[in-house]
Structure formats: C-alpha cells, structure tokens
Amino acid sequence: MAGVVIDGISKSFGGTVALAALDLDVADREFLALLGPSGCGKTTLLRIIAGLETATTGRVLIGGRDVTQLPPRARGLAMVFQNYAVFPHLRVRDNIAFGLKMSGADRDRIARQVRRTAGLLQLEPYLDRYPAQLSGGQRQRVAVARALAVEPALLLMDEPLSNLDALLRLDMRAELKDVLREAGTTTIYVTHDQTEAMALADRIAVLHGGQIEQIGSPSAIYHTPATRFVGGFVGAPPMNFLRTADGRLMGIRPEDIDLVDEDAGLAFRVSVVEPLGAQTLLTGTTDGQLLRVALAGEHAIATGAALYLRPRPDRIRWMDAATGRAIAAG
C-alpha cells in the first residue's frame, strides 16, 4: 500500500500543453477519482504515474519513493486500461497470472491469487476461455482481476467502464466499489462520468485544461464547487448560474429550489416539463435567464405555467462573474 505525490508535473506534446504544473496528493488506501471532460489531460497524468509517458517537468513519488526515472515494471503498480488490453493469446487464467509470472512468483502463490481474484470477480467458470470468448463485461473483469492479482501498492484505472453499456456499467460500478474496498488498494480512477466519480471515490479531483480545478469529497465537489466550471460539469442537470445586478453569479442546484405559493419568490415561466418519475424536471426562464428546476416526485405542471420559486439560502453558492471563482462565504 502506498500514497502518491504528484509534484509539479507538466507535460507538453510539441506545442500543446496537456498538463500544467500539477500538484496532487493521494493518501494511502484512498480512492481518488480524476474527473474531467475529454481532452483535459486525465489519461496523460495516469500514464505519467504509470511510467508509460515521461513528464516534461516534475516528480512522481509512490510510497515516498521517487519513481520519476523508473520504468513501469519497477513502480509496483497495476493498471486497468480503457480498452482492457487483455492478452488475446492467453487464457483468462494466464491473463490473471501474467503479472505474478513476470515477477517470478512461486506456483502456489500464483494458483492462490488466481483462485482468489477469479472468485472475487466471479470469473471461475471462464478461467480456461480465451478473451475472444468473453463478453465485454467479462473481459473488463479479467482486466481488473489481472490488476488485483499482483496485489499492487497502487491501482490505476483509465475509464474502465466506458466501453460497457449503461445497465452493465451500473452493475460493474457497484461490483468494483465492493471489490476495491475489500482489497484496500490505493486507487486512482480516471473518468469523464461525474456520477461514476461521485459513486466510487473518497475524493474527486476535477481536471480542466490540464489543471486541477478543485479537490474534495464528492459532497464538497457537488455542493460547494470552487469554480463555475465545476458546478457546471458535476451534476445532471448542472448547477444554475443566475447573474445578479451587482456582478455576481448565484449558483444553485436544480433540486435546491422550492416552489412557493405566494409571489414572494422569483417569477419563473416554464417552457419544458420533463416528468422523470422520481423527479419532475422544469426548464424555463426567470428574469430572462435560463433556469432548471428539479422537483421531487410528480407534479401536474403545464408548459407555459407561471410559478414562483425560492432557492434554499444555505445551498446558494456565490461566484464572481468575471473570474468564475467562488466568493468566500461570509
């Protein structure tokens, strides 16, 4: 087990800056999600930690040891690749055993670990199959089993669920969380899917344009976004930002807005009603600005209705309209 320190890592590909002087601490046994839109540098950072890419500047420390100059195999980590990269010429059994065989583990340990991780990921019936004979979800489990079998100090995952269909992704997400909690491995998990990051991680680091916008618990990221970008990227539908007369932005989550009867609240005209079952999603305008509201349960509201709304005061996040940064509460 090991913590990770990213110390001033930057990376340029020719003219494009993929990562800009990035610092990040991951605690031992922590599950950290690297969350950000496509192209923000998540994969690049993960590959630099793995040793598959060399950083332009900066150091990577794993378990207190500077590994910046070490090849991947000397870093004591395992990785789950986005497209799994399960070896097609090896049976599931030999795929899972691959890392242990390379490190010259004895036969008993290999057999024990294959049995244990295959059990953990429900792969026992498939041990003698080749990857081509497995479904996408099963192949993904083989990739995870191969990584866990070496009992790595650090586990890196690059969008491991993004190639699965929606239902399977939900199943695998819960399964992964269970398996990884049991293993207690320090994990860095790359994803562009904010629900995945929220569901899995102890902490989330939101990446944007090669820089970290905010690091915090899922709840902190969700409720107290540090920047307008974070508020807009995390949450579906995203946070609303209403411009006020004094040049501030009022950030408010759609579900933190209540209907009020009297005309004491914001006047709101509904343009779209989406009954989603658990929620009713309203899109409309207030004072000429777009606003989304998510009401719990079902409501008989017609398109074009005029309503009055009140944001919950303790949920409002004030931002500077010019910088897009949160204004310290006070």
Binding site: G51, P72, M79, A85, F98, Y130, A132, V150
Partner: protein
C-alpha cells in the same frame, strides 16, 4: 436477388487469370514430366534422381533454405523491433532497409560477384590488410563452404527486406496497449517480446515464413551468378536440363519436385503456426 451472383462475377477475372496462367501450365508440366516419347512413364523421374547433380542440388536447396530463412527471420524481427523504438526518421530507415527489394535478383548476384570474385573487393581489402598473401578463390568447387556462405549471404542480403515489411505491417497492427500492459505488469523488455509481441505476431511470422521459404527454394539468379554449376540447386538443375540438355521432360520433373516441396513447406507452416479462432484479436 441479383446480388447473389455478384461475388462470383467479381472473382471471375482473377479465377480466369489463375486458370489460364497457372492451372493450364501446371497440367502441361505434369504431362511433360510423366510422359516419355508420348507415352505415360516415370522415366523422367528416374533420369532425374539418377543424375549425379540431383543429390547435390537437393542438399544445396535445403541447406540454403534452412540457413537463410531463419537468419532472415531473426534479422527482420530485430530490425522491426528497432524501428518500433525510433521516434523520428522511421520512414527513411525503413526505405533504406528496403532498397535490396528494388534490385533485381541478377543484379544483386552480380553485385556480390564483384565483391567476392578473385579480383573482387573482398580480396583487395584482405590483401591490403595483410590477412592474405595472394587472392583467394571463394567461389570455386574446391571451397564449397565459402561458396555456400557467399550464396547464403547474398540471398539473405537480397530478401530480408520482404520479411521485414511483412513484420512491420504486423507490428503496426498490434495495439500498443498490449506492450504497455506487459510493461506495467512487470515484464522486462525481453519478456514482453517473447511472451506478448512474438505470440501476437504469429500470423505475420507465418506469412513471412511461407513466402520466404517458397521463394528461397526458387532462388536462381543469385545462385547462378555466384556459383554457376559449382553450386547446383533444384531450380538451376531444371534450367540446365532444359537449356543445355534440351530435355524438357526431366526439367518438368524438377519443376514438380520444387512445387511439391513448396506445397509441403506451406502446409507445415500453416499447421505449425496456426492461430486458433478463439485466440484471434
């Protein structure tokens, strides 16, 4: 459904081409080989095997294949792996390495002849370095080993590039994640090569071996330029029977032997280096 006959129509020109230029000559060759004075007989084959040069030609052909092809495969594999690690200039290096492909067999043979002949470059260099006191003959029947090495080296120089190109194409089709996964999971560069790259390249290796083996059994111009009749191989014997002995029947018998060996070699490689469906990417 008018589409049903379309595939057949599309392969018809190729089928016709093969029929006219391959199957018909093959049948004619078979007829020539198995006929003596217009009667079916095995006389051509008994004359062929009874000839003094037959055993030499058979042995030389096999020796050439058994030495040249493995060396070419190893060289080309090493070159392909080196190319993979080049950051820039890969296209130029590959181009330079493929130059021998663009040179005709005979020209290649003559190039090596100017190097290895009595008054050639090799002797000049060795003489000036004081290694030899007088020009040595490398290509005579009295120096069979040197002659064989000369032919083998020339053949290796000439045709390694085709193996290289096949392997490079195969390497480029391998997703780089396999190599990266091997590296992350603790494989040394050599382990990554033997446990991951090599098995995944099996289809390319198979193609290269079949092509090279068949072509090495047919090596002719290089052999003739360097060895002449001092180094008989199956193909040069077929040529000699046709042109010097005016005996088309025995020449056809040689042709059939060469074809039988090529087919057998192909079948062996197809079988030994088969990639089962379930292991394909």
């Amino acid at each position: 459904m008018p589409i049903r006959w379309l595939p057949y129509a599309l392969i018809a020109p190729a089928a016709l081409f093969l029929g006219v230029l391959f199957v018909i000559p093959l049948v004619q060759t078979g007829a020539l080989a198995f006929q003596v004075h217009d009667a079916w007989a095995l006389g051509n084959f008994t004359r062929m095997t009874g000839d003094l040069n037959f055993a030499d030609a058979l042995r030389n052909s096999f020796q050439l294949v058994l030495v040249a092809v493995p060396v070419q495969l190893c060289l080309a594999m090493g070159m392909a792996m080196m190319l993979r690690h080049l950051q820039r200039g890969r296209a130029i290096v590959l181009w330079v390495w493929s130059i021998p492909l663009g040179i005709s067999d005979l020209a290649a043979g003559l190039v090596w002849l100017t190097i290895l002949t009595d008054q050639g470059y090799l002797n000049s260099v060795l003489f000036h370095l004081g290694v030899i006191a007088a020009p040595e003959g490398w290509l005579t029947y009295e120096t069979p080993f040197a002659l064989f090495m000369a032919v083998a080296i020339a053949e290796i120089w000439r045709a390694t590039a085709i193996v290289l190109l096949i392997l490079v194409a195969g390497v480029q089709m391998l997703p780089k994640e396999y190599g990266e996964a091997a590296a992350v999971f603790g494989a040394s560069p050599w382990q990554a090569f033997t446990k991951v790259t090599l098995p995944l390249l099996r289809p390319s290796i198979q193609s290269a071996l079949i092509l090279r083996t068949v072509l090495a059994f047919e090596a002719f111009a290089v052999v003739m330029a360097l060895g002449g009749r001092n180094f008989p191989v199956l193909v040069s014997e077929a040529y000699a029977w046709k042109h010097f002995n005016q005996d088309t029947g025995v020449a056809a018998a040689y042709a059939l032997v060469i074809m039988a060996i090529s087919v057998a070699a192909t079948l062996v490689f197809l079988r030994l280096l088969r990639t089962p469906v379930e292991q394909q990417t």
